[in-house]
Symmetry: C2
Subunit: 192 residues, 2 copies
DNA sequence: GTTTCAAACCTAAAGGCTTTAGGTTTTGCG
DNA sequence: CGCAAAACCTAAAGCCTTTAGGTTTGAAAC
């Protein structure tokens, strides 16, 4: 057996793939080592411990998501951009359920301060600028947007909408419409 | 040492309390048994296995939340009711972080079909009736409401708003305003 | 070509958690 | 009292994480 010649990044990527395939909860160092054809203890050369591995997956997902968002909203604005932004999140959650679940975990201080996290925040702000909100309101709008999109995907993933008609698809459309409307007519009077 | 005389419900309640105090991730059968002054294996008389325990906490939280919501929205309507509804969720998430985290996990089919789950759904619908939406739109509004509230609390808990000015409080107000506005002027034209 | 050194990998072992199997003590009730 | 069911226990297997320390590998340095 040739040696695997792992690196930190390779281990984290493999962990993310495993999480996507087998579910985030099954993400064990032992299972990961098995997949990589390596002894469990060997992983500790590349990753401090299990929680560091999870944090690594979190940051990897953040970076990938940032890239996807950048591509999606490029050249669009207003409702188009909003739809693309939200759709990107949804696609990512579906295509990479394990990675997406990693994003739902509490972010460490390091992750919050990381470059990918900043990039996602910046892209969100950039998208919202198309709505011409008062500068001071941008943060609140960002938070509402994040809450709604993430919340919807979380409920969808957790089966809260489970198998009930009418199709979740329509609800998703309504949510986007609602966000678009809200951003378009954001209350300005509260600046007294 | 007198014997503990446990029951299924007592074990689940103790588990929920432990989760609130020590964090949901620390919720281990061994730790729970330690707290109850009992051997770990003894818990298996009251709970099928660990996942059943988690499901039990989930359903307990659902029932408690339903009770709290019922009290909060009683006698209120419109924006008042909305504020009370959302505030109840937020209070619950803060006062019982462990129980609340249990609510975020994928619901089993049994949990989705459970009485408490139905009660929460019914109460949400009841609250939304104050907004006089078209009957067919109630489901979508319910989902949007749930997504926004849960999403906000999740991001808040996960540190996505971490320590950043301006205060999260204002963002919360804005989100409620937005929901109120959206429900008040829900698009009706889509019924062609 | 050999030395050498760091990185990659391994074996061994400790300690925690879950779960099963089967035995013992309470407890309440006929 | 006597006895069955429920509550609890001990023992043990199996998996997981993590630490400690040893071996291989590959490439740069002599």
């Amino acid at each position: 057996m040739p040696r695997a010649n792992l690196t930190s990044a390779a281990v984290i990527t493999a962990a993310a793939d495993l999480a996507d395939r087998s579910g985030f909860d099954e993400l064990a160092l032992s299972a990961l080592a098995r997949h990589l054809g390596v002894q469990t203890a060997s992983l500790y050369s590349h990753v401090r411990d299990r929680s560091a591995l999870l944090e690594g997956v979190h940051q990897l997902a953040l970076a990938e998501l940032a890239d996807a968002i950048a591509v999606a909203i490029g050249g669009r604005s207003g409702r188009d951009a909003l739809t693309a932004f939200a759709g990107t999140h949804r696609d990512y959650a579906r295509r990479c359920p394990g990675r997406w679940t990693a994003l739902q975990r509490p972010a460490t201080a390091a992750t919050v301060a990381s470059e990918p996290a900043g990039r996602v925040a910046a892209l969100t702000l950039a998208m919202l600028r198309g709505y011409e909100l008062p500068e001071a309101e941008l943060v609140h709008a960002t938070r509402l947007l994040g809450a709604t999109v993430n919340g919807f995907l979380a409920l969808e993933a957790n089966g809260a909408f489970a198998h009930r008609e009418p199709a979740t698809e329509v609800s998703w459309q309504r949510a986007l419409e609602a966000l678009d409307t809200v951003f378009r007519s954001w209350p300005t009077e509260g600046k007294s």
